[in-house]
Symmetry: C2
Subunit: 367 residues, 2 copies
């Protein structure tokens, strides 16, 4: 019988690994290229309050946050000269706060750009080169130049297919971005996000914006993964039971025991951010053993198959890892059929977050 | 240009509809049957603080919460004689808090049952009849009877296939549960959760435990749905753009424009709880028009196709509904390939929650 009836899963976040990944990414670009950190959506769910200072200490001086609220939050904790860009663009009501908190919105439309140009000390601008989301289309740039003589401090665009290096869209977007730079003559140019770091120097330009890669996600699919793993997902066995052949395990009887089985119930369900679609598709680690998840993922619990383990390992309270110990967030996302970024933001908001910060000497080589 | 650059999606929660669903479910069972509310996981993500009082007012006097923490939280706000059961069972360290806050853990193992029997004023017990998760197997009941002469106040089991009425598992679990009741002679018996309300009277016994159905989810698949919809998911258009034929929309170019299109970008992404797997699979409503989601769901944004709408409807700031106005959470979950419970807990934690409480007169008939 457990001491407490309420064990909760834990997402362990290694701040040293985030800093090490920053340093590594910096080593992949030329010395003059600025590596900015994308920490939108509460640093991909990992907690902006601790992630930003770790990056600042690693030498990062430029941050992209989601919106004004996040920008104000970060600026309060960041009494430094670091630059904070707002990815959500410029709202007419945001002028005073942008000025007083030194926040630089990345304007995403012609009206935003014209308003910002007249009101804010910096002008940052997004152009749409083939993502069809935000940013001025190339056809509107001439109008902007005609209406304001001001050159942007930063010109930004976003690649749709950077994790598909052979896709023609990358070259097409690059060429369009260079054409936009010809028209706008920005002080700094930024096209590459995480995966595009590996597309080659010509994509790096002046500022690369890395989010996923900082958090250990291998969007570019480089093997072996050159990034340090950042998150580990840990929970405990809360119940162990013997299941007879033919008995069903979990909702809809999606798994039936083909033999006498030992089943462990772990405290981890879709309320904690493990997707329901992980049913019968992913694995967990106990000690040095890999065991499969069996049956559906329920709201707070999931079942794992302990049949092949020594009974001494199969006790309530035993530690179970679902990310970490060789199981990557990337691999889990592939098995489930989603992107690892979604896993991070879901687990980060659904689990208890615990931070670790290892001394340099204990870290393994990562490249 | 929007007044604010940071519109956020909103999950509207209709407390009156929850109360009405409670009343309706009560009408489906015999007068002596107790209808208990399952409000674990923060009332399925909808906010236990407001959901519990609404249910109390509707006449609910028995609640099932997830764990001790939730039980203590609810008891503080519920200075009433309502019964609060803890689904997470009984931990040895929880005795004092269970007694002082009148919380009744549903014991899930023989050691828990024996400990609870000696320490707590109430004895509630789960038996496993075919779900292979928690609860004493039938084979252990004789041992329990042998070691404690105390009859349980409540005996509980949970059906694996209640939303599959033709599945033999239901009858099998029912018969096993009746056998367990023969052995344990509990004061009250509880086998049915939401979907099992529609399996017939013999499943109702003394206490039915409803969660999903309270929140408008039609797990039993009754057509037309007899439950009032509880949640609405609303957001706004933040950008509208013209996309030329052949251009890609969003990540990985998973959607390409086959004609000149008008695309709306809405403030709703997987950080808000819209699953990434909703890409190219679900619809939204603007005014009285249904429009498809196109391309991948990104972290904070999703694209919708506005091409067939009058331009006056396609402006930044326009209201967009993804659940509500005829689009049910059940239908969205089916389209995405998940269960609606997962949608609720994800949207409830990812979106701003807003509560509505309509006067009785404005409610439509629901049966």
């Amino acid at each position: 019988m457990p001491a407490s009836s309420s064990p909760t899963p834990e997402l362990q976040i290694d701040l040293s690994a985030i800093a090490a990944n920053y340093t590594y990414l910096k080593s992949l670009v030329a010395p003059g290229v600025d590596v900015a950190a994308v920490v939108k959506s509460n640093a991909y769910g990992l907690g902006i309050d601790l992630v930003v200072p770790a990056l600042l200490e690693a030498g990062c001086a430029r941050f992209f946050v989601g919106d004004l609220r996040e920008g104000l939050h970060v600026r309060k904790r960041l009494a430094s000269s670091a630059t904070i860009h707002l990815l959500s663009g410029f709202g007419a009501g945001d002028t005073d706060e942008c000025i007083s908190s030194r926040l630089d919105p990345v304007c995403r439309s012609l009206p935003e750009a014209l308003a910002s140009s007249g009101r804010l000390p910096q002008l940052s601008l997004a152009v749409d080169t083939g993502f069809s989301r935000f940013g001025l289309p190339l056809s509107e740039l001439a109008t902007l130049v005609h209406q304001t003589s001001r050159a942007p401090d930063l010109l930004v665009s976003h690649l749709a297919c950077a994790d598909l290096p052979a896709d023609n869209t990358n070259v097409l977007q690059h060429d369009r971005f260079m054409a936009a730079c010809e028209i706008m003559r920005p002080r700094k140019r930024s096209l590459a996000a995480s995966a595009a770091v590996w597309l080659g120097n010509r994509f790096h330009l002046d500022v690369v914006r890395v989010g996923s890669a900082l958090f250990g996600l291998n969007n570019a699919g480089i093997e072996p993964c050159p990034l340090q793993p950042v998150v580990a997902l840990k929970t405990h066995i809360v119940d162990v039971r013997t299941v007879q052949p033919g008995e069903a395990i979990g909702y809809a009887a999606s798994f039936r025991a083909s033999r006498r089985m030992q089943i462990g119930i772990i405290a981890l369900g879709y309320v904690h951010g493990l997707p329901w679609s992980a049913a019968n598709a992913i694995s967990a680690v106990i000690g040095s053993h890999i065991v499969p998840v069996v049956g559906r993922v329920a709201m707070e619990y999931t079942a794992i198959d302990l049949s092949d383990l020594h009974p001494s390992l199969c006790l309530p309270g035993a530690l179970v890892e679902l990310i970490g110990s060789g199981l990557s967030a990337d691999a889990m996302a592939r098995a489930i059929g989603t992107v690892p970024q979604e896993l991070l933001v879901r687990l980060g908001s659904g689990c208890r977050r615990q931070y670790v910060c290892r001394p340099l000497a204990s870290r393994g080589a990562f490249h």
